[in-house]
């Protein structure tokens, strides 16, 4: 018979005294009970120290707290390891406030319900076992994949925080897509200059090992012990030992090349950006002729990405103000959901930039060497038959499609992180808070997650830096062994769990104990392995446990017996 100690928490009176008395009477009659004490506010430090004193006497197999939601207590006992002389996993909470008292119409029913909850909890806790804590040393070494604006910023900030960074870029130079920009929409800087400064800081920082023309080839290990094999320019391979990894590989753009899109007067944003940065004179020239009319055609391919809209308004203002061009912007919606954009948009309208909102895609045709754009403007207050408008333009600037880089898919395989619906890394699961990946110790930042404006990428870069420094700052990662564990003797090596583990925490490792075959003549062991869960990477969700066909996996803190006890049916 296990001996269970009981604490009744009245939660500052939210469990009425009369109710609490009935509960005490019931509890005291139970055979397993070693003692039953009452507290007004168990989460207070005084109550905890009283509890500590009471527990020092020892001789207990578990503690049941009768009170409110377990969420009120659990972390104070488990994660923070309040110095109580009993393992935190031997505590269980009978939530009679939220789930009995408050959910029941009559007190009688509430009392019955509370009793059931208490007896179930007592049975569950008698199946609990102590769970130990482990820690994993973390060296301050981080691998950043991608030398674009996001990667550079993260490297710079991490280096400031005293973390050594391997910055790996597959191209020959740093900078990435940001170099296609000439000016920002929201700050009076030249992108090139600003980037050059950042790049030179990165190049000259002894904390940053810069590896260009280098790619990730293979990744082994888990949080704190990643072994990344990289291949350099002369096909040399090196293995980097890092604690964490940041993927910031950016996006690619794809330009439409069919039909009229091949026409030299149909250009894309980077080309216009270049033209604007290279032209000094009072007017924009093309083949010796002045450019007078420029049309922007947006939302054809990137309807939900703000960047094009922002760049179009930004360029339109330069074209109108510095080069006296007439600009028309054709879009489905004007995207102004960025700081300062609404004012910029209004300014553009005041300066005479024309905005047309279409539903049907505008038609492009060549008329006398110029491009004619036919659009039906749905925004104007006029009848449907008056919608069509034709614009004869010297230039039509169209969006490029923003797509994942060609390596994204293989990268997701190497890093064992998820691809989103559109093929970018991770995309958005609200629970991952944007920058985390599904694997502990791997982060995703910038446009490889989703194409965005530079200032957004910079914020994201800083957020990643925060996550990485928070992870590495203590020098160790401490975790409870409240994780899944495989019994290698029962494992059928069916690869179900490594395939299904959402956090890629399971690998099939070689075990000496099982199925050792010695290849004849060589004396070399070729071992048939068993699945192994990396405890530091496991989140304890239990998916593998439920899926294992051989019942070889146990969730240490929530075994079958504990679940059946909660169901009120013991075997």
């Amino acid at each position: 018979m296990p001996r269970i100690g009981i604490f009744i928490d009245t939660l500052q009176g939210s469990i009425p005294a009369s109710f609490q008395e009935k509960i005490s009477d019931y509890v005291k009659k139970l055979p397993e009970i070693a003692f039953c004490l009452e507290e007004e506010n168990l989460a207070s430090s005084e109550a905890l120290s009283r509890m500590g004193k009471r527990l020092e006497a020892g001789g207990l197999d578990g503690i049941v707290i009768i009170g409110g939601s377990p969420k009120l207590y659990e972390t104070s006992f488990q994660k923070l390891r309040h110095p109580l002389p009993l393992n935190p996993y031997l505590f269980a909470v009978a939530n009679i406030r939220e789930q009995a008292l408050w959910l029941m119409l009559e007190e009688e029913a509430a009392l019955e319900r509370a009793k059931t909850i208490i007896s179930k909890t007592i049975r569950a806790v008698s199946h609990s076992k102590p769970i130990e804590t482990q820690s994993l040393p973390l060296k301050p070494d981080v691998l950043i994949l991608g030398g674009g604006i996001t990667g550079i910023s993260i490297a710079q900030e991490l280096a400031k925080a005293g973390i050594h960074v391997f910055l790996v870029e597959k191209g020959t130079h740093l900078g990435g897509k940001a170099l296609e920009l000439h000016r920002f929409y929201n700050r009076p800087l030249e992108v090139r200059k600003w980037m050059d400064e950042k790049i030179s800081v990165v190049k000259n920082n002894p904390q940053i090992t810069l590896l260009t023309q280098t790619e990730l080839k293979r990744l082994e290990g888990h949080l704190g012990r990643f072994q990344a094999k990289i291949q350099g320019p002369d096909r040399t391979e090196t293995v980097l030992a890092v604690s964490a990894i940041v993927a910031a590989t950016g996006y690619a753009s794809q330009r439409e090349t069919k039909g009229i899109y091949r026409h030299k007067r149909v250009i894309v944003f980077p080309e216009m950006e270049k033209l604007l940065s290279e032209t000094k004179g009072p007017s924009l020239l093309w083949d010796g002729k002045k450019i007078e009319m420029v049309t922007y055609l947006l939302d054809g391919v990137n309807e939900d990405i703000k960047v094009d809209s922002i760049n179009a308004v930004k360029q339109a203002l330069i074209l109108q103000e510095a080069f006296q061009c007439q600009v028309a912007i054709l879009c489905k919606d004007v995207k102004v959901a960025a700081d300062g954009m609404e004012r910029l948009y209004r300014k553009a309208r005041e300066k005479g930039v024309l905005f047309f909102k279409y539903e049907e895609p505008p038609k492009l045709s060549i008329v006398n060497g110029q491009i004619q754009v036919d659009v039906k403007d749905t925004a104007a207050i006029q009848k449907r038959e008056q919608w069509p408008v034709s614009i004869l333009s010297d230039f039509v600037v169209v969006s490029e499609a923003f797509v994942p880089t060609p390596e994204t898919e293989s990268l997701s395989g190497l890093l064992k992180i998820h691809l989103g619906n559109r093929g970018f890394l991770m995309e958005d699961n609200p629970q991952l808070l944007r920058v985390r990946s599904n694997r502990r110790g791997i982060f995703v930042a910038g446009a490889c997650r989703f194409p965005q404006e530079v200032s957004e990428s910079l914020i994201e870069a800083r957020a990643v830096t925060q996550e990485v420094t928070a992870l590495l700052s203590k020098g160790t990662y401490t975790y409870d062994l409240a994780v899944a564990e495989v019994d290698p003797k029962k494992c059928a090596v069916c690869y179900t769990c490594p395939r299904l583990c959402p956090h890629s925490a399971i690998t099939v490792e070689k075990y000496g104990e099982k199925n050792v075959y010695i290849t004849s003549g060589t004396g070399q062991e070729t071992k048939w392995g068993a699945a192994k869960v990396d405890p530091a990477s496991c989140y304890g969700c239990g998916i593998c446990v439920a899926e294992c066909p051989a019942k070889a996996i146990t969730l240490q803190h929530l075994t079958d017996a504990q679940i059946y006890a909660q169901m009120g049916m013991m075997e």
């Binding site: 969420k71 009120l72 659990e74 972390t75 104070s76 994660k79 923070l80 900030e157 925080a161 005293g162 309807e303 939900d304 990405i305 703000k306 489905k332 919606d333 004007v334 995207k335 102004v336 959901a337 960025a338 700081d339 300062g340 954009m341 609404e342 004012r343 209004r346 909102k357 749905t378 925004a379 207050i381 006029q382 009848k383 449907r384 008056q386 989103g420 619906n421 559109r422 970018f424 995309e427 958005d428 609200p430 629970q431 808070l433 944007r434 920058v435 997650r449 989703f450 914020i459 994201e460 800083r462 957020a463 830096t465 925060q466 996550e467 420094t469 928070a470 992870l471 700052s473 203590k474």
Partner: protein, 345 residues
């Protein structure tokens, strides 16, 4: 990288303040979080789940999770019903005097994070929409609370399910007449998500969405928007309404707006009108800018001071943000605070 224990004061217990506190705690920096209201969570704690058949990425559940997480931590001291009364000192040596009920508390802080949040725009300022006069004209915040606490949609006037419901976008945003020359960046997404959630729960309810421009939000927005466009029960009309009339006999609301298809002003009746209100800086946050000597941006939000002042501004009070971006910004603010403290030690 050992930091000396230094007090960080976080003003505002909304999702931004909570995130800063949690992030700092993760890095081993204890902080004090103060909140004016009796409970944490701020504006976003009253939001409902906006999922339809699957999650629509509104992040409201994340707020609830963070709130319960912060209550479990013992390295963050939380003071509710607490206000800032005065500030002395600068450059990261702030003495802040706080008021909790009748109690006065003085706090030394090496860094102060202002995450005072925003107020939803006061919809009664748009007199023509009749908020406050007509019972069945409600704000999106009212709708959020209705769905969160009652789990049901009903007309305030009679408690019945509205058969037709319309959303007015840009109430208090992008509006020269009230001087708000900014997009609140969240209303399109939340209104469409609310519509989707309502249409899922009550397929018989028909929804209309009156807007200027649809503003995207997040990686899955395209897919989401397409599903809205394909839904026969949702009308997306690019037009902002000019006026709302009440017909007492049928208890419906007539709305006058320009029909872009017909190119003329039309009238339509609805059972319930929801105003998608934008964000404005709260009076209390403005008061803080005076206490700390901070500037406002052109749009009337708090401008970030240089980091050496030891004062950091994050969350929607520094410019409109949804929950997702507030969390992201709060994380980056936490990093700046950390850097500031490291620089001083």
């Amino acid at each position: 990288m050992q930091l000396e224990e230094k007090e960080v004061l976080i003003i505002g217990g909304g999702i931004s303040g909570i995130t800063v506190a949690l992030e700092l705690a993760q890095s081993g920096i204890p902080s004090t979080l103060i909140e004016r209201e009796p409970s944490l969570g701020g504006l976003s704690a009253s939001f409902c789940c906006k999922a339809s058949e699957s999650c629509n990425k509104c992040f409201a559940c994340v707020v609830d999770k963070r709130i319960s997480e912060i209550h479990q931590r013992q390295d963050i001291s939380i003071m509710t019903q607490t206000e800032v009364m005065g500030v002395k000192g600068n450059g990261g040596k702030h003495r802040v005097s706080l008021k909790k009920g009748k109690e006065r508390i003085d706090l030394k802080a090496s860094a102060v994070v202002i995450a005072a949040g925003i107020n939803p725009f006061d919809a009664s300022q748009k007199v023509e929409y009749g908020y406050g006069r007509f019972k069945n004209v409600i704000t999106a915040k009212d709708l959020d609370e209705m769905l969160r606490y009652h789990g049901a949609l009903f007309r305030p006037s009679d408690g019945k399910l509205p058969k037709t419901i319309t959303f007015f976008q840009c109430v208090g945003s992008r509006d020269e007449s009230i001087g708000n020359l900014y997009c609140s960046q969240v209303c399109c997404a939340y209104a469409l998500r609310l519509i989707k959630a309502i249409r899922y729960q009550y397929p018989e309810v028909k929804a209309t969405f009156l807007y200027m421009d649809i503003q995207p939000a997040g990686a899955s927005f395209q897919q989401f928007l397409t599903s809205c466009r394909e839904d026969k029960g949702i009308r997306l009309i690019r037009s902002l309404p000019s006026k709302v009339y009440h017909s007492p006999l049928s208890d419906t609301l007539r709305v006058r707006f320009t029909d872009p298809e017909r190119g003329e002003v039309v009238e339509d009746s609805f059972d319930l009108i929801v105003l998608s209100i934008g964000m404005v800086l709260s009076k209390e946050a403005k008061h803080l800018t005076e206490l700390f000597g901070l500037n406002l941006t052109e749009d009337g939000f708090i401008a970030s001071p240089p980091p050496q002042t030891g004062v950091f501004v994050t969350g929607a009070c520094s410019g409109p943000k949804d929950i997702d971006r507030s969390i992201l910004h709060a994380k980056s603010a936490a990093f700046l605070v950390q850097q500031h403290l490291r620089g001083r030690s």
